[in-house]
Symmetry: C2
Subunit: 148 residues, 2 copies
C-alpha cells in the first residue's frame, strides 16, 4: 500500500510475518519487552521502554511525565497486584520516526485472573539508532463504569 500511495501512512494490519525492519515488527518486539518487564515485576525495565520525555495519560489522574514518574507509576501498579500484561497490536501506522499503534490489553493478577481489559493508543518514536520507544501512552478500560 505504501508503494501505491506514497503520501499515505504505512498501514500494517496484516497478521502475516513481518520483516525485521518493519515498524510493526519492531514495535511488537518492543511490546514483548514491555510484557517481559511486567512479568518480572521490573518497573525500571518498563520505564526504559519509554522515551526520556514520555507521558502516560491514565484515567483518574493527571498525565505522568518522564522516566522517573513513569517508573513510579508502574511500580505502584505492580505493587497493587498487576503481575501480567498482555498487549495485542491491532494496527500500526508509521511515517518515518513516528508511529501510532492501536491495540488491546489484558492485565492479570498473580493467580492469572483478569484484572482489567481494554484498548490503547501509543505514539512511538524511533531514535537515531533505530530503536522504537513508547512516547505517549493512553488506554481505556472496556469494563462498565463502577456503579453502572
Amino acid at each position: 500500500m505504501s508503494t501505491a500511495q506514497p503520501a499515505s501512512p504505512t498501514r500494517d494490519t496484516a497478521s502475516a510475518t513481518h520483516g525485521a525492519s518493519s515498524p510493526r515488527a519492531a514495535i511488537e518486539a518492543a511490546n514483548a519487552r514491555v510484557m517481559s518487564a511486567f512479568r518480572a515485576g521490573d518497573a525500571a525495565a518498563l520505564a526504559a521502554c519509554y522515551t526520556p520525555d514520555a507521558q502516560l495519560l491514565p484515567a483518574n489522574s493527571e498525565a505522568v511525565s518522564g522516566s522517573d514518574a513513569i517508573q513510579r507509576f508502574w511500580s505502584g501498579a505492580i505493587a497493587a497486584g498487576i503481575a501480567d500484561a498482555r498487549l495485542e497490536t491491532a494496527e500500526v501506522e508509521a511515517q518515518g520516526p513516528l508511529a501510532v499503534e492501536v491495540g488491546r490489553y489484558t492485565l492479570a493478577g498473580a493467580d492469572g485472573g483478569t484484572l482489567d481489559q481494554g484498548k490503547y493508543v501509543v505514539a512511538w518514536h524511533r531514535d537515531d539508532a533505530g530503536a522504537w520507544r513508547l512516547h505517549r501512552d493512553i488506554w481505556t478500560t472496556n469494563r462498565p463504569a463502577p456503579g453502572t
Copy 2:
C-alpha cells in the same frame, strides 16, 4: 527543529502564531469546527470531522468504529447533556499525512457547569486534498474514579 533534525517528527508545542500550512494550525482549525459542532448540538457535523474509518476508544465501552457509529455516539453524548466541549491542543507531532495531537478537554452542560475534564490523544490523517481529520480518538478523565 525539523530543519535541524529532518529525521525527527515535527514537534510544535509553541504557542506563537502558526502559518496556515502548519499541521498544528490546521488541526487547531479542525478542532474549532469540532467545538462549533458540539455547541450546535450537531452530531452529523461532528462525525464529518472524522475519517470514514475512524475509531473512538472511549472508557467503559468497546471501540466505536466508522462514521455512523461515531455520529450515534456523539448524538448520545449531546442528548445526555454535553452542550460544550473545549479542546486545548498541548502538542502536535506530524510526519507527512500522519499527526499525533495531545491535548486537554473540558465538557460542560447547558448551564456552563463542568461535566468532565481530562486529556486526549488524537491520531489525525491528512487527506489528498490537504484536509486533516480525526482518525483515532481516545481520552481519559482527570477526575477520581467513582467511589474513591
